[in-house]
Each structure stands twice: as structure tokens, then as C-alpha cells.
Symmetry: C2
């Protein structure tokens, strides 16, 4: 048997997807499973996006330009301008999802054994992309006690070595829902400038910001042009996760030129999805207002109901559609599996994402879960009641 | 200015795309440019594929399974069975183009500094994927004199070290058009088994095989189940390069399990493109027969016309839609650029791909070009006459 790579072997299974077989088994047993594990919203995709591909007049489904069509990138630049972010189409590469934008950013900035500092808990697939890119993640722990705010900047400073090439944040955060303040972003900007490293911000949840707070992008920081790299995606913004369209955005021309070589090697992002995504840019503001108001209702209900449960501690998210809850148990991995395999309440059970998979430091977050509030209020109420009942009887 | 990665800096520009600005300039000057540089066929996409996305009934464009839907993979397995390749849906991962299938294969098999042996000239982006994966390409030169047949197997044997993890072939070949014989495939099978390494075959041009020869897949070699990994794609087969759908196929279960972790990290292949690609599997055999007969006509015309030119040597391809021609010049890079910048014949010029970019050994293939015969006979005839006239006056 030929050997596989060490990185292939050490590549983690997705903490979000690894319980899927147990959920499928629960379904077979006739249980209703409420899926709180994955960020696949139930929100409808804007009809103009779905309709655009229905009326295409292509007779050859050809490659697009590697960086995406100029027209589409100009429209994306206009979208950013409306959001007070000033870039041109030359600062944008259209990618196959935010995932590919991250891979291109990692490849353009880091060589094997280089280091990237990431506040944890973080989006689990950052681990996967780091391993795929032979890069070492250096975590800084953020705490549920203060809603996963930015850890003291001195904690970052301590970890910067010659091998550190970037700091990566997700803003607002998956899995924390935390929205960084302008002051926090400015602190990060100062430290990356001081050490002349990149600041990569995954801003795919930019539109999902609540409570009248304004999102502050790293592309808005004066003087950070050479250091700021933004990862973006249409997946959550227009509820079109399956399109697989994202963007890499930076005013650093050398960075964009380098990333473009990675983009050329894979030829082009998907053409049909670009047609849908370009049309999605016409989505009226009212769509986002409705979506935001729906998520605020869900979040408020979720937090309120979770806080009623004895021993449960919940972070208060201002953005995205996730929250981390600490449960009065020892091991959320076991608990999540037990919920699917052994438990039901009125024939209902839930699938949650154990939060340990969102930490890179071993042994941290073992009693935490991530909940994606992508279900309607009625379903969320049922799902939380299942967790409440389960905790009454669960022994670990 | 923060530093970029060494690999980003050393990443080659695409030899196919780097002349695009000169072609655009030639267009602006009013010249007609015949594009022989890129494998974007002018063949129409089967209508069932294009129509399938027009009648979709999605209201949420959601993620698919990371490995592609079970239904789609079962249909792909059926397609293979019709081609006498016997695999199940569990042996298949649907990827974002053949490009991503290669990246997953490289990541699953090789760590930083590992080596992969590839007969050259080879598809230029293998270089890009190797650099992105921190892997070293070890080339074995194949020769235009014998149509780029497999080099003697002893040449491979000499290059195998402890770091060698795989041999990669493209069959039929891009950029050579060479189709490996059953005997050549068996020799490769024997050597990878002897050294217990992987044999990766890029078989995306499987349907483009001429002159009544049959394609022999590495998946058909008895006893090679653990060592064989096939890269496949719908791009050329159904003239749907812009779909970005490919497959990774292997009967080695551990390999597939490992590759699936890379697939999960990027969530899913594009959903709309999977709808089109699933429908494309219904394409009648008559479509391929027509396409093959069209390419045979083009190839015959191209070779015949090229051989009429003094000092031009051409390899005779049995597959794909490329051929390599050796020209009576010193540097095809300069020649290709000169054609666009300085030359026209009756206001026509051509864009070719200099072949040096398809070699990894420096200084080899400098006087060769790759021609993609993706234009109709009339256009090909004009294009070759431009090359003939150009060679009469070109001085390097």
C-alpha cells in the first residue's frame, strides 16, 4: 500500500460534518433532527440571482477570466463603495468561494513552516487550509466571559516571530458572532504595520451585523493599504452557499499579482455561479433589512431560552448567525453524539457542532458547542427545549 | 511592505495566458487574432446540460455534499462502467474542475519537499499546483522525434528516491496529444507497484482519441487498485470548461477518505454546475462521434499544412486536441510575442503557446510551440498560413 502524506493523515475531519452519519441514523429511526450545526441558512436566495441562470443564452459554457470578468468586478467595486470601502476592480480577484480566496492568500503570503496568528475559537476550516498550505497556526485564546472580544494586543505581540507572516481574523466572527470594534481593528492595524506583516480579515458576514452597530472593515483603515487582505463571499450574504463564489480583495498590487498566478493555475471560477452572483448584486436593501430583522429575532430568542437553562453560559453575538454556549458537561463531543444516538424529547433531537474543533489549543472549549441560528423561531424554540431536557438527564 | 512567499514569487505565469495583453493590443490595432493558444473548444455544449440549469426549481442555492451528491456520483460510475472502468460512487469525489482534483491528490499523497515524476512536456499548471503544494517536480524528457511516447522506463527508475511519492501522466496528453499504449501503461503500473508509489493519471481527454485506437485507463489495470488515482473533468468532454466540475477517482479507500477531508474543508463543489454536469451525462454517443470526426479533420489539416512549411517538425497526435510543432527559430517566446506585436498577413495574426512553459527542465523546448486545434478548418488554414508567412520574414 503506497503511503499517504503526513498532512493528509493529520488533516482534521470537519467538526461540523463528522456527526452527519449519526444524524442520518437518527433520521432513519424516525427522529426529527434539528440541525444547529451548519451555517446553511434557510433564507431564500434573491430571485434575481436564481432567475439570471434561467435566462442565460450561452451555447458554450466557457472559461471566464481567471480573476473574474471585468464587468462583474466593477460591480463588486461599486458594492464596496456603497459600503464606504473604496477599491477598484483591479483590487479584486473572483474566487471559488471564500475558501479558495483563503488558499490563494495563504499561498501568496506564506511558505512551508511559516506562522499565522489567529484568535481562537476560529472557523474550523482555517485549520484545514493551514495544513493544506503547510503553514502553522499560532492561536491566541479569546474568552466566552467577554463575548470573545479581541484578546489583549500584547498577547499577539508575544507570539510574533520571524516566521509570522500574518494575523487572521473573522469579523464578524464564525463561530463566535463577535463583531470587532473600530478600536480593536485599529490595534490590529498598528501591530501588523509595526511588524510589517499582513492582516487578513474574513468579512463574509459583513451584512450580518445587528443592534445598529456599523461594521468596520480593515480596508477602511487609513494607511493599511499594503497590509490589508480581505476574504469575502456571496455564500451567506445572498444565501447562495452552493454558488461557490468569493472574492480576494487588496490594494497591495504585488499581493494581487501574486494571487493571480494561483488563480490562473486553476483557470477560472465557475461561470454559471458568476452569472447568478453578478445578478445578486442587484438585491434591494430591503432584502438585507428583512434578513437582519429575522436573525435578530432568532438570536434574541436563542439567547433568552439558553440562559434559562441551569449552568449554561452564552456569549452575546452582535453579528453573523452563530453563538457559542458553554454547557454544564465535560465533553461536548460525547454529548453531541449522545443527543443523536440515544436521546429524544417528543421524538425530537438536535445536531450541534462541538466547539473544540474550533480551537487549535488542545483541551480548550471541550464543554462548549457552536449553535448556528439558521432555523426559524419555532424550530429554534423546540431545539433549545431538547437541549434543556437532555441536560437534565445527561451524565458524562 | 510586508513580504510575499517565495513560492508566490516563483509561481510561474501561465504560458497560455501571459501573451493575452499583446493579443488584446493586436485586436485594438484592428488585426484579427486566431487563438491557437488555449484549450477552449468552439464545440457547442450539449443542450441538455445548458437547459438543465434553465429549468431548476431551487429557492435556496445550498451547499451540496462535499463529495458531490450520491445520485450524481452513481451516474458517473455508470458512465465509467460504459467505458469498461469499474468503480462505485464511493470511489469518486466530485471536485471543482480537474484542477482541484489534482490539488487534493497532491495534498493527500505528498508533504513539503516530496517529489513527483512527470514526463515532460506536461500541462503547465502541474508546475503551479506543485509549487502551491510545496512539492518538487522531477521531469523525464519525452521527445518530439517519437511523438512524445513514454520515455524508457529505466529513465523513471533512475529518478526514484525515498522522496518520490508518485508518477503523474496525462493520457492522452496535453500538450503532446500522445496516447499511451496498453504496454506503456503496464510498464508504469509495474514500476509504481515495485516502488509502492502512486500512479496519477489525468484522463480528462479520454473521449478525444482518434484513428480507432482505444484508450486504456490506469483504472483498468488488474492489481493496480491501491496505486491508481485518476483525475477527470467535464470541461473538455462536454465543452463546458466554465462549469468547473471534475472528479477524483480511486479504489484506494484510504486515499479517498483522506482526499475527502480536503474536500470537506472547502465545503462543496459548485451546485449549479453539478446540475448541468449531471444532465451532460445524458449526452448521446452521436455527439462524441461528431466531435471526434471534427477534431480528426482539423488535426489532419493542421499537420498537413504545418508539414508543408520548410523547417517545421510536427508530432503526430492520436488524442486530445493539441500538437507540438518545432519551428526553425531560436526562441518561441519572442516569436509568439512578435506575431502579435509586429506581424500580420492580410491583417491576420495568431496567438500560440510557447512550449518552453510546458517543460520543467530549463532550456528545453525553446523552439517549440503548442497549437490547440480548437478552431474550425477554415480558420486553422488561415492561422497556419500566417505562421508560414511569418517564418519567411522572422529573424531571431
Amino acid at each position: 500500500m503506497p503511503t499517504l502524506s503526513d498532512k493528509g493523515i493529520s488533516m482534521p475531519e470537519s467538526p461540523i460534518r463528522k456527526l452527519v452519519p449519526y444524524a442520518e441514523e437518527a433520521n432513519k429511526q424516525g427522529k426529527t433532527v434539528y440541525y444547529l450545526n451548519i451555517g446553511q441558512p434557510d433564507i431564500k436566495t434573491p430571485t434575481m440571482a436564481l432567475d439570471a441562470v434561467k435566462i442565460h443564452s450561452l451555447d458554450i459554457l466557457a472559461y471566464s477570466r481567471s480573476e473574474g470578468s471585468e464587468d462583474y468586478r466593477k460591480k463588486i467595486a461599486y458594492y464596496y463603495a456603497k459600503n464606504d470601502i473604496h477599491v477598484t476592480h483591479n483590487d479584486i480577484i473572483v474566487t471559488t468561494g471564500g475558501s479558495e480566496a483563503l488558499l490563494f492568500a495563504f499561498g501568496s503570503i506564506m511558505d512551508a513552516d511559516d506562522e499565522i496568528i489567529i484568535p481562537e475559537p476560529f472557523y474550523a476550516n482555517y485549520n484545514g487550509f493551514s495544513i493544506a498550505s503547510d503553514v502553522k497556526v499560532v492561536p491566541v485564546i479569546s474568552k466566552i466571559e467577554n463575548n470573545f472580544a479581541l484578546p489583549p494586543i500584547e498577547e499577539f505581540e508575544k507570539l510574533i516571530t520571524k516566521k509570522t507572516k500574518a494575523i487572521l481574523i473573522c469579523n464578524p466572527g464564525n463561530p463566535t458572532g463577535y463583531l470587532y470594534s473600530k478600536d480593536e481593528i485599529n490595534k490590529l492595524a498598528a501591530i501588523v504595520k509595526k511588524h510589517d506583516i499582513f492582516l487578513i480579515a474574513d468579512e463574509v458576514y459583513r451584512e450580518f451585523v445587528y443592534d445598529d452597530i456599523t461594521h468596520y472593515s480593515i480596508l477602511q483603515v487609513p494607511g493599511l493599504e499594503d497590509h490589508a487582505v480581505v476574504i469575502d463571499s456571496v455564500s451567506k450574504r445572498y444565501s447562495m452557499c452552493g454558488a461557490r463564489i468569493g472574492y480576494l480583495v487588496s490594494k497591495n498590487k504585488k499581493f494581487i499579482q501574486t494571487a493571480l498566478k494561483f488563480a490562473q493555475a486553476r483557470l477560472s471560477p465557475p461561470t454559471l455561479a458568476q452569472i447568478a452572483s453578478e445578478a445578486a448584486l442587484e438585491t434591494p436593501d430591503s432584502y438585507f433589512e428583512e434578513v437582519r430583522s429575522e436573525y435578530v429575532k432568532r438570536r434574541n430568542l436563542l439567547i433568552e431560552e439558553l440562559e434559562k437553562i441551569d449552568g449554561v453560559k452564552v456569549a452575546k453575538p452582535n453579528g453573523a448567525f452563530y453563538c457559542i454556549a458553554e454547557l454544564p458537561i465535560k465533553n461536548a463531543d460525547d454529548f453531541a453524539r449522545w443527543l443523536l444516538e440515544k436521546f429524544d424529547h417528543n421524538n425530537n433531537t438536535v445536531m450541534v457542532a462541538p466547539a473544540a474543533g474550533f480551537y487549535s489549543t488542545p483541551g480548550v472549549g471541550l464543554n462548549q458547542i457552536r449553535i448556528a441560528y439558521v432555523l426559524n423561531e419555532e424550530s429554534l424554540r423546540v431545539a433549545v427545549s431538547v437541549i434543556a431536557e437532555a441536560l437534565k438527564v445527561y451524565k458524562d
